[in-house]
Structures are given as structure tokens and as C-alpha cells.
């Protein structure tokens, strides 16, 4: 089966933190803007948990605009008239890069036979892609949320590969609360009878109900209470036939917020694989850069050659400002040049994807400076 996405096949097996190695790994990627003759203007944009390589082009499954088109494009803060932007689907995901839905060497989908991966494994795959593209040193690596984890992991583990590291709304380690929310999502998937131990690819039913619940629970963590209240309050959902909303004394989506979450959940299952969700959330839960470097975060950045910029949002309770400050203090201790700003925005964790003009200015200023 040929890959419908543009993909690079790694020439060597990819070693993993678990001790295993994956052969025949494909990394699906998109690029935007011209690469300069001296290859010095490449920016790697790393995507979040359920993101993909379609950062600034139409998503082939949903037909929706790229997930960061407000940030990446001609004359945008990450200006593709100036920079060569690379965005790749991480391993473990499901948009053309090798993951649990891919076909294993025995001709069957991996399913749960896919090895458990880490964020560093994802980045190892991205670095192998950069090797394949002939890019020795990035102008910058940029990411929000799990994308920011990848940016920090690249800086810590491949200290010469990026001149600038821009990590937004992120953390250097998953907290107990972060892990707890992910576990709820995983249990919802695994409780769906259609999951069948992850071996559902051949059949006609996937664990859509479980994946949808996982997405609904996660989506709440991406928003702020203030944002939810402003958007929905306790307002009731009008019916499809146009009758105004009312309490049904039943379990339909009476409230607008319920209807919204169900819509988010059902839309998500059209474009995402349940096993990928298990593997990527697991990778995020294992994420702890300090642990990888003898327990001290500053040591992780001791050899870095990059300038750093961290951005947090005051309404983000998933990866709150304290997590970014923790990274900043470690970078201070390591003597690395670092900027940090907490921006005010009402949208919670999702602020990094939404209309926050101050973020645009910080991103542009940091990348161009």
C-alpha cells in the first residue's frame, strides 16, 4: 500500500528508548517556502498530540485549513517568504508516519505490537528526516504543547541542531495531573468493546465511542473555565428542527457545552486512530527531560548552543506558567540565553493556536532577531 502522504523512508532502523528498533520507518512531512542555497533558513515546526504535518495547508481528510495557518505562511509571523518551514507527522501518529496502524513486516497492522515510544524517539525520527533533507542546523525549532516538548527535547539531546528554540505552552515533564487526564482517555478507548486489544483494523468497527470520550475529556483541559463560561454558559441547545432548547428530563445534549463536546468527539474520530492516541499520550506521560539527564534539568541544557524563548498563557491550567518558569530557571542556571513571557489570553491551553496578537509579535521578534 503506497503512502498517500509525502513521506521520507529512513534508511536505517530507528533506535528507540525502549531498547527496540523500528525498521522501514516512514516520516510524512510537508514543506513551505524555499530552502536557501546555504540551507540556513529551515524552521522545524513540531505538532501537538493530535496535530499533523498539515500546518499551513488544507487537511486532506477534513478539508479544513492547516492547524497553524494564522502563524505560518507568507507575511505571517513564521514567514514562508523568508523561511523554509518543515512540519512532519511524528512516529506513532496516523497521518502517514509509521505508527500502530502501519503494516508490520509480517504484513499485518502493528496494533499493540507497535513498540511504546517516547517524545525523544519522535524527535530522533525528526532528526533522521533532517539528515535526509540535508539540514545540519535549523534556524529554529518551534512548537506548542507536545510540539514544545519536542523542541526542548531536540535542544537537550541534539544541542547543535537548532540555533533557536521556541517552546510555547509546554513543560519539561508531565505532571501527575497531566498523566491522570491521559489515563482517563486511554481507559475510555480500552473500555470500548470495539477496541479488541487494539486489533480492530481489519474489521468494520473501530473504538470510535471510546476515542470520542477521550477527546471530549481532553478537550476540556485545552480550554479555560472562563472561556467555556463565556462561550456556552448554561445555555441550552436548540433542536435540529429549530425549536428552542429546553431541558428534556433525559440525556440528550440539552446544554450547548454538551453538544459542542460531542461534536468535537465525533469529528475527531474521523481523522485520528485510537491506538495512535494511546501511544502518543503514553509518550507524553513518560516525558521528563531532567530524568533523561541524571535528574537535573539544568544539566540537560548544559551543552546547548541555542537561544531559547518560552511563552506561557495565564489561563493555561494544563501546562501552567510555573512549568515554563521551571524550564527558564534551568536555562538560567545553564547560562543559556533565554527569553520568557507569560501572555494574557482567555482561551486556556489552546491560546497558542488562537488569536493572540502578542504571541504573533513574540514569535516574529524571536525568529527574526
Amino acid at each position: 500500500m503506497s503512502n498517500p502522504h509525502q513521506a521520507f523512508v529512513l534508511p536505517e532502523p530507528l533506535p528507540l528508548d525502549s531498547g527496540q528498533a523500528l525498521s522501514g520507518v516512514e516520516i510524512a512531512y510537508e514543506t513551505y517556502g524555499e530552502l536557501a542555497a546555504d540551507r540556513s533558513n529551515a524552521i522545524l515546526v513540531c505538532h501537538a498530540l493530535t496535530g499533523d504535518q498539515y500546518v499551513a495547508s488544507t487537511h486532506p481528510v477534513t478539508g479544513k485549513p492547516g492547524w497553524w495557518e494564522r502563524m505560518v505562511g507568507p507575511d505571517k509571523p513564521i514567514d514562508t517568504d523568508r523561511y523554509h518551514v518543515i512540519c512532519a507527522n511524528v512516529i506513532g501518529s496516523c497521518m502517514g508516519s509509521t505508527g500502530p496502524a502501519s503494516i508490520a513486516p509480517d504484513g499485518q497492522p502493528y496494533g499493540m505490537r507497535f513498540p511504546v515510544i517516547t517524545v525523544r524517539d519522535m524527535v530522533r525520527g525528526l532528526v533522521a528526516l533532517l539528515d535526509g533533507l540535508g539540514i545540519a542546523r535549523l534556524h529554529a525549532v518551534v512548537g506548542g504543547s507536545m510540539g514544545g516538548m519536542q523542541a526542548l527535547s531536540l535542544a537537550a539531546n541534539w544541542p547543535d541542531r537548532a540555533a533557536r528554540v521556541l517552546a510555547i505552552a509546554t513543560t519539561a515533564r508531565h505532571s501527575a495531573q497531566n498523566i491522570a487526564f491521559h489515563e482517563v482517555g486511554r481507559q475510555a478507548i480500552m473500555a470500548d468493546p470495539n477496541w479488541q486489544g487494539g486489533d480492530y483494523y481489519g474489521g468494520n468497527a473501530a473504538p470510535d465511542a471510546g476515542l470520542s470520550v477521550a477527546r471530549m475529556a481532553a478537550h476540556i483541559t485545552y480550554l479555560s473555565e472562563e472561556g467555556l463560561t463565556e462561550k456556552f454558559g448554561r445555555r441550552l441547545q436548540a433542536r435540529k428542527d429549530g425549536t428552542p432548547g429546553a431541558k428534556t428530563f433525559g440525556f440528550d445534549a440539552d446544554f450547548q457545552v454538551e453538544s459542542y463536546l460531542r461534536y468535537q468527539g465525533s469529528g475527531f474520530v474521523q481523522r485520528f486512530d485510537a491506538n495512535s492516541y494511546l501511544y502518543i499520550t503514553r509518550a507524553m506521560d513518560y516525558f521528563d527531560i531532567a530524568e533523561e539527564h541524571g535528574g537535573k534539568l539544568a544539566d540537560a541544557f548544559a551543552g546547548t548552543t541555542a537561544r531559547f524563548c518560552l511563552v506561557s498563557f495565564d489561563s493555561d491550567w494544563l501546562y501552567p506558567t510555573a512549568e515554563s518558569r521551571h524550564v527558564v530557571h534551568a536555562l538560567n542556571a545553564a547560562g543559556a540565553p533565554v527569553s520568557f513571557v507569560e501572555l494574557s489570553a482567555p482561551f486556556g491551553h489552546d491560546s497558542f493556536l488562537l488569536d493572540v496578537p502578542a504571541l504573533d509579535r513574540v514569535v516574529k521578534g524571536f525568529l527574526d532577531g
Binding site: 518558569r325 530557571h329 513571557v341 507569560e342 501572555l343 494574557s344 513574540v362 532577531g369
Partner: protein
């Protein structure tokens, strides 16, 4: 660039050695840092509490951390900088004595400037009106000012002595011009000291 700087900052810009490692505590919009970087190849880092000012610094390509100097200096290693700068910020510190110690822990030398509360116009305003003075350099009423620890030239000299800090140099300013040192505690609107760990 340097000629557009406030007079105390212009003096600091002239004094900082070429290529030094500098921490500017309360760096504002980064004007001094940019001048030091562009004019002297200085590796400058900043701390600033106001996010909008941090944003402007980042847009200038400067490395500035949004933070509270009272709390965040502690995260820098000993002797990380050749020069630490604290311009017009000492009087806003929760504990100016602690901040002085921290400055000279992270920096081998420090430049500290502050408005002189014993300037004669201040004394006169207090004596004649019986109210906390509001002037060009201290333009805000007592209840909303960030200046919670008013200090005079003499106070600063005594604090330096108590902390065992050596005063290497001093400059005084009134009406945005440098003035001589005689009678500075009366005549200076604000002061700049260069200090070292002694």
C-alpha cells in the same frame, strides 16, 4: 544609539567593558541592552516584570525573562555575569539589602541607580506642603507608587558600608544632566553607583 539613552544609562553604557556578560535587572524596553549589544558586543540578559516591555525586548532580539527580581535572581549561578545593572529599581525591591547581595552574587560588579529622596525639591515639598512629594522622577502618589523603599544618597552609602560593599564610582544627575559630587545628597535628583563585592 547610546546618545538617546537616559543619562544614567549612558554612563553605564560607557563604563561596561567590551564583550562583557551583563545582566540588566528591570531592563524595561531593553534600550540599554540593545545599546550594549550593538555598541560593545556585550552578551546581555534581562529581567523585566512587565510583559508588554518583555515583548518589545524579544522583538528587538534580546534575551529577557519576564520575572520578579525579588524572586528570580536566585536562579542565576554565582558569578554568572561580569556586570549586573539595577537602574531605578532598587527603591521598588521588597528588600533592597537582599537585592544588593544578590546583585553582587551573580555579578562581579554592579551599577545601581535610584532617585535621591533627599534632593532639595523633595525636602522642600515635604516641609512646605507636609505631603509626600510628587515630582518628575517620582511622578506617582504615595498610595500607588511602586517605590516602596525611598532611599537617599547617604542611605545608600551607609547600606553599602553595612553590607561590606565597596563603592568604586559614583555619578549624580539633576535635570537630566550630570552634576558634581559636592553636596550631592541635597543637589542630586538621582544617583548612580558602581559597586563591587569589596
Amino acid at each position: 544609539m547610546a546618545d538617546t539613552l537616559r543619562p544614567d544609562l549612558a554612563v553605564i553604557a560607557a563604563q561596561v567593558p567590551q564583550g562583557a556578560r551583563v545582566l540588566d535587572v528591570g531592563c524595561g524596553d531593553g534600550a540599554l541592552m540593545a545599546a550594549l549589544r550593538d555598541g560593545k558586543g556585550v552578551d546581555a540578559r534581562g529581567i523585566e516584570i512587565d510583559p508588554e516591555l518583555v515583548e518589545r525586548c524579544v522583538a528587538r532580539g534580546l534575551s529577557v525573562v519576564q520575572g520578579d527580581a525579588d524572586r528570580d535572581l536566585t536562579f542565576y549561578p554565582d558569578g554568572a555575569f561580569d556586570v549586573a545593572i539595577l537602574s531605578q529599581t532598587l527603591q521598588t525591591a521588597a528588600r533592597p539589602d537582599h537585592m544588593m547581595r544578590e546583585l553582587l552574587r551573580v555579578g562581579r560588579r554592579a551599577f545601581v541607580s535610584f532617585p535621591n529622596f533627599a534632593y532639595w525639591r523633595m525636602r522642600w515639598a515635604l516641609v512646605s506642603k507636609g505631603r509626600m512629594p510628587v515630582t518628575r522622577h517620582l511622578p506617582v502618589s504615595w498610595y500607588e507608587t511602586e517605590n516602596i523603599h525611598h532611599v537617599t544618597v547617604k542611605d545608600f552609602e551607609l547600606l553599602s558600608r553595612d553590607l561590606g560593599v565597596r563603592i568604586e564610582n559614583r555619578w549624580f544627575f539633576t535635570d537630566e544632566r550630570e552634576i558634581g559630587g559636592s553636596g550631592a545628597n541635597w543637589r542630586a535628583e538621582y544617583a548612580l553607583f558602581e559597586v563591587s563585592g569589596g
